[in-house]
Symmetry: C2
Amino acid sequence: MKHHLKYILPLVVIFLVACNGNKKAESISQKNELLFPRGDKNTTDNFEGDVWVKSLVDADSINQTAVGNVTFAPGARSKWHIHPAGQILLATDGVGYYQEKGKSKIILRKGDVVKCPPNISHWHGASPDTAFVQVALTGREKGATVWLDAVGDDDYAERAARKKIL
Amino acid sequence: MKHHLKYILPLVVIFLVACNGNKKAESISQKNELLFPRGDKNTTDNFEGDVWVKSLVDADSINQTAVGNVTFAPGARSKWHIHPAGQILLATDGVGYYQEKGKSKIILRKGDVVKCPPNISHWHGASPDTAFVQVALTGREKGATVWLDAVGDDDYAERAARKKIL
C-alpha cells in the first residue's frame, strides 16, 4: 500500500487546495456584491474615520426626501447631529451602532430599521471590527442637518443595550 | 500505470462531487439571505400574481414617508396606480419592470433607483422568469395611493427600452 502514496497524496493535496480556493473566490465575490455603489470618500469633518457616501436621490421641490448610501469603515462614526425633519436608517450590511442622546447605544445589523425623530441629537457608525452600510432617508423640508460635537471614546465604547428600535 | 487507476479514479470523483456540493450549498445560502423579511402575502386586488408586503416604517404625523419591502413572484405585477406625493423605489434583488403611462417600460435590477413623480400613473412588478424585490418609499402627506386598471398583457410583454431612470 505504502508505495501508492506517491499517487494518492498529491491528489489529496490538490483536492484540499482547490476546494479551499473555491471558498475564497466565492467569499470575495459576495463581498463585492454591493447593493449600491460605495460612492466617494467623505472629505468633511462631520465624520471620524473612513466613510463613503453615495447619493441615490436628491431632494427637490416636489420630493423632499434625500436618499443616500453610507459606508462606514470599522471604527468610523458620524459626529452627534440633528435632522430637523428626522431620518430613517435602513441597515443593509455589516454591524453598526446608533445612539440617541441620553439613551443606550444600539447595535444595527442587516435588515434593522431605525426611525430617528426630528431634532433629536444622535450619531451612527460602524462597530470597531466590522464595517457598516446603511441607506439613509433624510427629510429636507425643514432645513439641513445640524452638526454637533464629536462622539467621545466613552460613548463609542459603551456597551450596547438593545439590538433594534423597531 | 494502468493498475493505479483504481486509486486515482475514486479520488477524482470525490474531488468533483465535493467541490460541486460546495457551490450548491453557498448558492442556496445566498438566496436565503433576504435583506428584509418577505412579510405577508398580499390579499388585496391591487396586484396580479403572488406578492408579499412587509411594512418597515409607517407614516405618522411627524414622518410622512412610509417604507415597505415588496416581493413580486415571477410574472406578478401591480395595477396601474398613482401616488399623490410620489414614490421612490430601491431595487434590492431580482429583475423587475417599471413603467409610467405613455413611456417605455424599463428593467430594474439590484441597485437601480426610480423616482416616480406625484400623480403619474405607473405600475411595477417582476419579470416573467425572475422574482423582484423592492423597497418602496411612499410619501403619505397628500393622501393614499389611487388604484386604477390592471396592466394588460400587451403592456406587460412590451419590450423594455432602458435599464435605469436615474
